[in-house]
Assembly symmetry: C2
Homo-oligomer: 308 residues x 2
Amino acid sequence: MGKLLIVGSVAFDAIETPFGKTDKILGGAAPFIGLAASHYRADSAIVSVVGEDFPASYLDLLRERGIDVSGIEVVPGGKTFFWSGRYHNDLNMRDTLVTELNVMADFQPVVPEAYRDADIVMLGNLHPDIQLSVIGQMDSRPKLTVLDTMNYWMDNTLDTLLQVIGKVDVITINDEEARQLSGEYSLVKAAEAIHEMGPRYVVIKKGENGALLFNDSRIFFAPALPLEEIFDPTGAGDTFAGGFTGYLAQTQNISFNNLRNAVIHGSNLASFCVERFGTERLIQLRPQDIDQRLERFRELTQFDIEVK
Amino acid sequence: MGKLLIVGSVAFDAIETPFGKTDKILGGAAPFIGLAASHYRADSAIVSVVGEDFPASYLDLLRERGIDVSGIEVVPGGKTFFWSGRYHNDLNMRDTLVTELNVMADFQPVVPEAYRDADIVMLGNLHPDIQLSVIGQMDSRPKLTVLDTMNYWMDNTLDTLLQVIGKVDVITINDEEARQLSGEYSLVKAAEAIHEMGPRYVVIKKGENGALLFNDSRIFFAPALPLEEIFDPTGAGDTFAGGFTGYLAQTQNISFNNLRNAVIHGSNLASFCVERFGTERLIQLRPQDIDQRLERFRELTQFDIEVK
């Protein structure tokens, strides 16, 4: 059983989809990552920041799922990061209505003493300065450092982002971001170019079209589970990262073959996430639900052709 | 070893991609289907029509690959169907520059006597009247009838198309066409609606994002092989259909499990097709190329998670 250190935003989200809307609910990358990872046998901790307005019940929720929240700083008098968005009818596009960074704007992360030797570090999507600071606080190089990021940081803080990319083992980005970062249209060529920047594993997420794992010339593909209805895509990428790193922290095996399994676990958890608003489904999830759906992934992809 | 009857256009294609352009080359659905299927142990025949301008060397090419071309009518003084198109830079969109139906406009298909008991009938994309006529000429219901069609026929001859759909076992269409035909956005719901129209198997092709096979509540997914470069997408869907039906004619097993394999074979052949202009790559292909790439499909998708 390994230690998983998660850095990421903790936020209030207000979401509108064609199926309904929410008031401010628990959001941000870190809760999705942490709750997804909490379904695996690993010691997890979150490094983040919230304001005084952040409900104790949300911290309790994370604590009850076994997540160490001592690294979540509560800023007296501060306001928690707030994001609001509205999805289009096909759910593949969304408009951001509000982004209030609040306490996130001046966040200086402090990694708890007990997690400076974490096996797996999951750098959730936020300012590369914060990701770099967390990397610098580790006692030694973790077994595996995983970076999630997005086009915003490519547009605005590319130099720092490239420093971070140079220090990680795995990067997870979507297809358009992979193209932007590499300048290559072909995802195979994009992954090659990104390997050159540092990460020996490149995960390219294609939403409802699945995810590709590249490791030099080796490629693995995990489909997204075809669902009758996608209710709310918010947090699907973070949930993928949580299932991916939670499984790796549990198994402590960072070979390419086991990363294949981790991609399936990440995709599996993400398929639940989108069935309800926010983190709701991740919280209700039982081990047997996870196992049953893993079996569906097997049925979905496994075949048996005799190659002569 | 089974008999495969193919009906489809035989044409001249003139293609422009970002990588180059061709003069009039061998095109149309039937040659792609037939050449792909010719890599399997099956007796195949094409029913189609060409003009007097169609080179004997193209017919010889098909004959040399073991395809019965006695059902390809040559119209004295007629001109062969001609299509010209230009692909956009990302190859996902194309503009049709020229469509000259010529002899295809009045085509009355005649199924050769020896193929009226074919095991598998592959109805390539063309006018539903022609597809219906071929179905009507069979001595008895084939083991499996596979229909390929497109949005053009949904827009213009929906009633006849629905008659054809009601008589086939498998339909292959792309994701947008599945949505148009069913009125459902979710592909899972679209497949359910299309099952109700007749076909017990629904194959939804998503181009570089792979293909889904639906059979009631069962789903199988085959990815497209990630390629460094796609050179010319023309005929990829027809090649998929040829690999799919060629493999089924060889194995004579139309269970869901074997259709999974057939979808992988179809995807495998299609991955070769797009590497060169037109049918060029399908003609050069050796059995060991096919086997090696099947192995890549296995590596791409197979994983081994212990489900407790």
